[in-house]
Symmetry: C2
């Protein structure tokens, strides 16, 4: 019987789950709302029910070898979600323990969503065969997964790889984490918007963005304006690339990766973001690292990436 793994991505709004085979083919995808109730047991029961439905439907065709879960603030060692700011659950959610009560698959694994994306890239995407790389997810926040010598870096507590919360400017923008100047406040989708508003105050160029309120402005509108040659929008991408390039140069000085993959909404902007990131990264790299580090778009299909990444957790442990 063919083998398959369940990949589950727990997001702030929805939890998407899919049955994935070893080659990365998503056999079936489904989703449930991520309950916003502070009591996680109600959510976990719905999740288990949804998984059971998938299992019942496919167990005659596939040997299901495990469940991989990607979640914000996911802790690999404990199998828990701990104090995730974007989820409504209070405290620590023991996801893996809960799943183990209902399912006896050989592998039930949870990690941070950006780590899951990194493992997805390694198993199914552009990082196949790479031993040292970094995944950067540029979305509502900035996440990262660091791979060293073929293994995910988890650190002593399971929380390694928060490059989005390295500090670009100790006196800089307020961050949701309570500190100031984190990379995330500059290079996430909301960070790009904040940069536009800073530039609207600094520059005098006319801009189609001057007619849009902070609440209404989206990263997609900035992208569109930039493609129309809007000076503010273009400068916003340039500055975003500068900040990201500088901080990625620091990341290279830590683990010296072969490549850095950019993933998520902002990475869809293509050259608008890749060109300034590459240029500023090279300009800020220590000599010994220059002209060595590739900056690449993720090769995971955007719609399936989260589920693929989560299922890849299982294939990685299984030993693909």
């Amino acid at each position: 019987m063919k083998q398959a793994a369940l990949g589950i991505d727990i997001g702030g709004t929805n939890t998407v789950m899919g049955l994935v085979d070893k080659d990365g083919l998503v056999i079936k995808e489904t989703s449930i709302p991520t309950k916003t109730h502070p009591d996680y047991t109600i959510y976990m029961n719905s999740l288990c029910d949804a998984i059971q439905n998938l299992v019942d439907t496919y167990k005659s065709q596939f040997e299901i070898i495990g469940i991989g879960v990607g979640a914000p603030n996911g802790n690999y060692y404990n199998g828990t979600i701990e104090f995730a700011p974007n989820l409504k659950f209070e405290g620590i959610v023991p996801v893996v323990d809960y799943l183990k009560k209902s399912f006896d698959f050989p592998y039930i694994i949870l990690t941070n969503d950006a780590n899951a994306a990194a493992i997805g890239e390694m198993i199914y995407g552009g990082a196949k065969g790479m031993k040292d790389f970094i995944m950067i997810t540029l979305g509502t926040g900035v996440g990262s997964g660091i791979v060293v010598n073929g293994e995910m870096v988890y650190g002593h507590d399971g929380f390694a790889g928060e490059i989005g919360h390295t500090i670009f400017d100790p006196n800089g923008r307020d961050c949701g984490c309570g500190r100031k100047g984190c990379l995330e406040t500059y290079t996430s989708a909301p960070g790009l918007k904040r940069t536009v508003f800073e530039l609207l105050s600094v520059m005098v160029d006319p801009s189609e963005l001057r007619g849009i309120s902070f609440n209404d402005l989206s990263a997609l509108q900035i992208d569109k304006a930039a493609r129309n040659g809007d000076a503010i929008a273009l400068e916003a991408f340039e500055y975003t690339g500068e900040v990201l390039g500088i901080k990625l140069a620091d990341a290279v000085a830590h683990t010296s990766p072969e490549a850095i993959f950019l993933f998520g909404g902002l990475a869809q902007a293509g050259d608008l973001i890749f060109e300034p990131v590459k240029r500023n990264l090279e300009d800020n790299l220590l000599n010994i690292y220059k002209n060595k580090v590739k900056v690449l778009p993720s090769e995971l299909p955007p719609g399936e990436a989260a589920v693929l990444g989560a299922s890849a957790l299982v294939w990685k442990e299984f030993g693909v």
Copy 2:
């Protein structure tokens, strides 16, 4: 027969070598000048002669299992020293290949001097039993060695772990590496001196350091002045700790270590440097990392640390 390893530390002025047993006992230490001649073959021949002398003297008492070499810009994968700014050799010095022509020990290994110090800490010092830690060497420069899951992080090119060249301020102090604002320009011994001179210009407090020229001022004098309550010297240590604390918070966000060890001249300043580093590190850590990361003095004896670290390279591969 008892086993021993040769540890060799190649410094700008001298090359120190020692025969070390598995417990970290230095049986014999000796040194040769590191030739400043651009042609490395003359130096390598003297080095081989000195090693041969040690081997001849001790081969009846010890089974020598290998040679470990720590050197600036040492590359673990290639066994080379590559374009080291503090050494006079031109280009790439194939140290390991050269040694292998003269000696047939099972292990002949070279790495960056800060990596060697990290492995020394892991085998003989305070990092025994730790799987995730960072070694920071605060001397003429700032070096680092990063250990993840019990293994040295070398990266795809063998040059990982240059936290001294992460950027504190993109518009900051000129660095020997050709860039601006590297951590090293603030938290090395010369960095502390530069901070004193900046503070002498900014502050109006009387200071015993106002009578000493830039060329004459040493880190030891600043240390002494601080212990006498000198306001400038105290503020210089405070600022050094602030910069180091901020950048170590970034390092934690990469690999989430259990501990950070400080080693080298500046670490000898004790609480003058440890107190502000710890405080500023905690202040700048992302929530999930707070109150978890120990900042500790190296437990390697300062006089023997380099040779111990180099010999530890052999014991690590040997599997102590």
